[in-house]
């Protein structure tokens, strides 16, 4: 049971208010038709699965209905930061 800080509600709330929405920073290609099947497949199906720092998207479903990003350690489950969609993480795997 994680305790997740919502950057919109500006407080930590229980995991059951949220739903997990997968890896963050996956950008939809601007011109899907110009991509090969492989390139489109990469966008559709392939996600990183790191041991350690992971940037992921959460939806505050039973709260403010806003999406936001979280940097979480997949090993310890520590949440290192929450940040708004469109922002870049302050904590990255490279620096840890």
């Amino acid at each position: 049971m994680l305790l997740i800080h919502c950057p919109h509600c500006r407080e930590a709330r229980e995991e059951e208010e949220y739903s997990y929405r997968g890896e963050a920073h996956i950008v939809r290609p601007l011109a899907p038709e110009s991509l090969s099947d492989e390139e489109w497949g990469d966008y559709l199906f392939f996600r990183s699965n790191p041991k350690g720092i992971h940037h992921e998207m959460w939806y505050h479903a039973v709260g403010c209905r806003r999406y936001f990003n979280v940097t979480r350690d997949t090993l310890t489950y520590e949440i290192l930061e929450s940040y708004l969609i469109g922002q870049q993480p302050a904590v990255t795997g490279a620096t840890s």
Binding site: M1, W40, G41, Y43, Y59, Y67, T76, I85
Partner: protein, 1010 residues
């Protein structure tokens, strides 16, 4: 029932018992008496009950060893019938009048154990027995398991409904203190004084922990009196919640802990009032773990004979309960602390035969106190074997070498009926371990200390290896103040002086776990490590000889620590013996990780109030009570209760659905369609946004018009469908499937918030606001006309796929002319508080046309007759619009690459032999194919047959007079007219012709009726 009221081992009142208040109870069918404050274990010991169970594998008689959660042997079943509780530890069951308990293991009885007589079972079950014997052949496992369970006994689950209620509380606190022994109590007091919201929980009925059995004084008063004062002080704080009889059984992520509070178990089997148990779900800012330590028994030959106990447990029974579990004591120890037991035993007036110390010339304060009483202290010796069968009759004592690995001289027998042993202490690091902290071996304390944790917690007192009372009290105070400070309360100042208590000078303990025998471990009589699962020192060594090196593997191979006691007594001894066999240190060997639960919890408490009708929310429409009053049968659609069909008296479901369907086709029916998801969409970019979401375009949809749309996931697969209406400039109303409503709203928000924030559009769920009554059938217009005067209902003024605002039955309404039946249909939407009124008015208006309420089943039949798909029934997340023969819904000239479009050109989505939606008409008109049936082209093919598709929807169509089905068949659209076969599990094969999926009114003329 025989009767015995002699409590031959009752000394009098203990610190927590009142010998003047007698309590009747029974054990294994025999009547006994205990006293108020007893546990079942203390009462059994008072009555001289030696054998409380039989061991799992060898069926050896077993007696009570401990006094708390660590007890491996006294596993009992409480009561019988619905409220029976299996697998409780007698040491944790508080005695109440009329308590009935039974041993869970021992068949047919503990005293005359059939398996014990056969005696062969143990030889059948060496370590690794499960793997070697039971895994092959696999199909026999069920047989073995039945035999093992009956023979070894793992308790009986109640087969009746649990009569009790259970409850949950979501708690939040600044500081949670786990354990109300000396360290925990002072920690709670400091945190409370600092202003923190404090919860202090302890698994026992009384706070005090080890102090309840202590003969020490604090600030000059008896330990139990000091505890009472401190508890009263804590009760005086508004910000402290005291939870006795409450086990913190799990420490989960981000300082979330679970506490099982037993509210009425000490009063009897069934709670008369309120909840029997309560689960506290605690989110704590800071945690203080003050969980104490378990005394480690020494491992020696036949150490499982009843009458071999932990030294501290013997003291606890004397001091706390007033019970002397024997007459003549031999104490064997590696340390000073156990000498207290000899003092207590002597003080109680019974004979201490000898204290056997594995060390040479011990000189600590307690040691000298024992010697001063003239008690024989035999140093440099060990008890190498217990003698007796159902009760200890003697102890075999022999000199050993300095490192305790070998017997150095001849053994002699000591006559005794109780052997108390102490191999030192193991900190109760279970909760710390739950956090992922790796236990650290400490040579000084000869035990594992809690490791570094990522959670906001600290340990204080014996659970971090601090054993002197004064040090425990100091640590507790510091921990409480520090936790409060980190939780934002106070500055960490200690406000209360630590109480003054006696200090005893101690000498170092010896790190010894397995006492040597004159014979090698493999040849010596069984030296038990894990009593509950009959794991011996020889078994651990055998595992090593068979090649197991990792502690986790050895644990699984031998079953060490797998019992309901979770190896609280045996694990460390097992690790030590393993380390020795591997020729490495305990630190190198490591330990297994403790996981929740610390002690078992009931399913009832975990379920709480989420049972019966509250198991899952039931969502009702505004007309729900009307449907109930009409005797509707209901279907679960998501969490909604939807009327399935409305049986009239004597009607079967088949009859009712046929009648309802014909009524719609021939006159008029009415359906509660309120559960459909509805999303209000507003904003200047609304049209652009929904055009990116749907496969077709909404850029030119005019106000007053509706359009049917399908939405795809990015992989091109259909994910939801429905009608979308243009309500005005930049304003739309989107209908979703009933089950898809929340998912679609989250989907829209996802794309707007994360990918296209530049599009100005807002989404609001209005599912609950609107109640929808769908009036459908050739007479629908006539019914609506009777209750709606301000909408021109003519085909010219109000065409198919239009909507109009108006007044229906006196209520402002929005009417959509859309149809899921193929008939003329009006969907009347009103705010839900008017829902039942408008529905009843429509029923009244339709009475002259025999208006017929119909349910979801008839709706399904009618739409299937028209070949309309239901997302989630005819699709399964792997179907594209083309697979559904719905290319017409794909916008061909859209400039933006709508969601899923690119995937429709992937090689997999464009291949020829994809499953495609077709109709099936059975050759025998009355035969209805079961939904989900597989389809083959060649009914004579041998198994495994080539499966070519499956049936997604199948019904009997009353209006067509034959069975119809929708199916997905490989290349199905090129196979119209072909015969396919559905081989069923019962051996039947149903033959059907592939036909168009539109069975009824293929030209779509009926909904244009004038």
């Amino acid at each position: 029932m025989s009767r015995s009221i002699m409590q031959k081992n009752r000394l009098g009142s203990g610190a927590c018992t009142d010998a003047s208040k007698r309590i009747d109870f029974s054990f294994n069918g025999k009547a006994y008496q205990g006293v108020a404050g007893d546990t079942l274990a203390s009462a059994l010991l008072a009555n001289g009950v030696d054998v409380v169970g039989r061991s799992f594998k060898y069926a050896r008689p077993r007696g009570i060893v401990g006094h708390g959660a660590e007890e491996p042997n006294a596993i009992i079943q409480l009561g019988s019938g619905a409220a029976t509780v299996p697998n409780l530890k007698a040491t944790q069951v508080e005695l109440y009048a009329g308590l009935e308990a039974f041993s869970v293991n021992g068949w047919p009885s503990v005293d005359f154990d059939l398996m014990g007589v056969i005696g062969a079972f143990g030889r059948l079950m060496p370590p690794g027995f499960y793997y070697k014997t039971f895994m092959y052949p696999k199909k026999l496992w069920m047989t073995y398991e039945h035999f093992i369970r009956k023979a070894a006994g793992l308790g009986a689950t109640p087969v009746e409904r649990d009569p009790d209620t259970y409850d949950k509380l979501n708690q939040h606190c600044d500081v949670l203190v786990v354990g109300a022994g000396p360290a925990g109590l002072v920690a709670a007091r400091e945190a409370a004084r600092a202003g923190a919201r404090v919860i202090i929980a302890d698994e026992q009925s009384q706070f005090g922990g080890s102090l309840l059995a202590s003969t020490q004084t604090l600030d000059g008063i008896a330990a139990t009196d000091w505890v009472a004062q401190l508890v009263a002080e804590l009760q005086g704080f508004d910000n402290v919640q005291l939870l006795p009889r409450s086990t913190v059984f799990g420490y989960y992520d981000h300082n979330f802990l679970a506490i099982l509070e037993r509210r009425t178990d000490h009063l009897g089997l069934t709670a008369d009032q309120g909840a029997r148990q309560r689960l506290h779900r605690v989110r704590a800012k800071q945690v203080v773990l003050a969980t104490g330590a378990f005394e480690r028994p020494l491992v020696f030959a036949h150490n499982d004979i009843p009458g071999v106990m932990s030294a501290c447990s013997v003291s606890t029974y004397i001091n706390r309960y007033g019970v002397l579990p024997g007459n003549k004591l031999v104490l064997v120890t590696t340390n000073d602390s156990a000498y207290q037991t000899a003092l207590d035993w002597h003080q109680a007036g019974r004979q201490v035969v000898a204290v056997v110390d594995t060390r040479t010339d011990p000189q600590g304060d307690s040691v000298n106190a024992v010697k001063a009483l003239g008690i024989d202290v035999i140093d440099g010796h060990a008890v190498i074997e217990a003698q007796g069968s159902k009760r200890v009759k003697g102890a075999l004592v022999a000199p050993i070498n300095a490192d305790g690995t070998a017997v150095t001289g001849s053994a002699r027998g000591l006559n005794c009926d109780l052997i108390a042993s102490s191999g030192g202490w193991s900190p109760a690091i279970h909760l710390s371990s739950h956090t992922g902290a790796k236990p650290q071996w400490d040579e000084q304390i000869v035990g594992f200390r809690p490791g570094e944790s990522k959670q906001q917690e600290r340990s204080a007192g014996a659970c971090r290896g601090t054993y002197s009372l004064a040090a425990c009290l100091a640590e507790g105070g510091n921990a409480g103040a520090e936790a409060a400070k980190l939780a934002g309360c106070g500055d960490g100042t200690i406000h209360f002086a630590a109480p003054v208590c006696q200090e005893y000078a101690q000498q170092p303990q010896q790190a010894l776990f397995l006492l040597p025998h004159t014979q090698s471990t493999s040849r010596a009589p069984s030296q038990f490590v894990d009593f509950q699962l009959d794991v011996t020192a020889g078994g651990v060594e055998l595992a090593v000889r068979e090649g197991f090196e990792s502690v986790e593997h050895v644990k699984r191979y031998t079953a060490l620590g797998f019992g309901t006691d979770q190896g609280k007594l045996g694990n460390i001894n097992g690790m030590a013996i393993l380390a020795n066999a591997l020729g490495q240190s305990i630190a190198e060997t490591g330990t297994t990780i403790f996981r929740p639960s610390y002690t078992p919890s009931t399913f009832g408490a975990l379920a709480g109030r989420d049972v019966n009708q509250l198991f899952d929310p039931e969502r009702y429409t505004a007309m729900h009570r009307w449907h109930v009053e009409q005797g509707a049968e209901f279907e679960n659609v998501g969490q909604w209760k939807r009327p399935w069909y409305f049986p009239q008296s004597g009607e079967t479901m088949f009859d009712a659905v046929n009648r309802e369907g014909l009524a719609v086709r021939n006159s008029v029916g009415i359906l509660d369609a309120s559960t459909l998801g509805k999303i209000d969409i507003q904003g200047p970019d609304a049209a652009e946004f929904i055009t990116r979401i749907y496969t077709n375009s909404y850029l030119k949809l005019a106000p007053g018009k509706c359009r049917y749309g399908v939405m795809l996931k990015e992989d091109g697969m259909i994910f939801d469908d429905g009608v979308c209406a243009c309500l005005g400039d930049n304003h739309y109303l989107m209908f979703t499937t009933t089950g898809g409503a929340a998912g679609v709203l989250a989907w829209l928000e996802l794309w707007q918030q994360t990918e296209w924030p530049e599009l100005q559009v807002y989404f609001t769920s209005v599912t609950d606001h609107w109640t929808t009554a769908t009036v459908s059938g050739p007479n629908a217009r006539k019914v609506i006309a009777k209750v709606c005067a301000d909408i021109d209902l003519s085909n010219q003024a109000f065409g198919f796929m239009d909507w109009r605002d108006g007044t229906v039955a006196g209520v402002k309404a929005r009417v959509f002319r859309i149809s899921f039946t193929g008939e003329l249909s009006y969907e009347v939407n009103v705010p839900a508080h008017h829902g039942r009124h408008v529905w009843e008015q429509l029923m009244e208006a339709g009475a002259e046309f025999d208006i017929t309420p119909y349910g979801t089943e008839t709706m399904h039949v009618l739409r299937a007759e028209k070949g309309f798909i239901i997302v989630g029934q005819d699709t399964d997340g792997s179907m594209t619009p083309s697979d559904m023969n719905m290319d017409w819904v794909l916008g061909k000239n859209k400039t933006f690459s709508y969601l899923g479009k690119r995937s429709l050109e992937r090689s997999d989505t464009t291949r020829d032999n994809r499953k495609q939606l077709v109709g099936l008409k059975t050759l025998v008109a009355t035969e209805v194919i079961p939904e989900g049936a597989q389809i083959v082209f060649d009914s004579k093919q041998k198994i495994p047959m080539s499966m070519q598709g499956h049936v997604t929807s199948s019904y009997y169509s009353a209006c067509l007079g034959h069975s119809i089905a929708l199916a997905v068949v490989k290349g199905g659209l090129n196979r119209l007219g072909q015969i396919v076969y559905c081989p069923l599990a019962d051996g039947r094969i149903i033959a059907a012709e592939i036909v168009s999926s539109v069975f009824y009114d293929p030209k779509g003329e009926r909904h244009h009726v004038e």
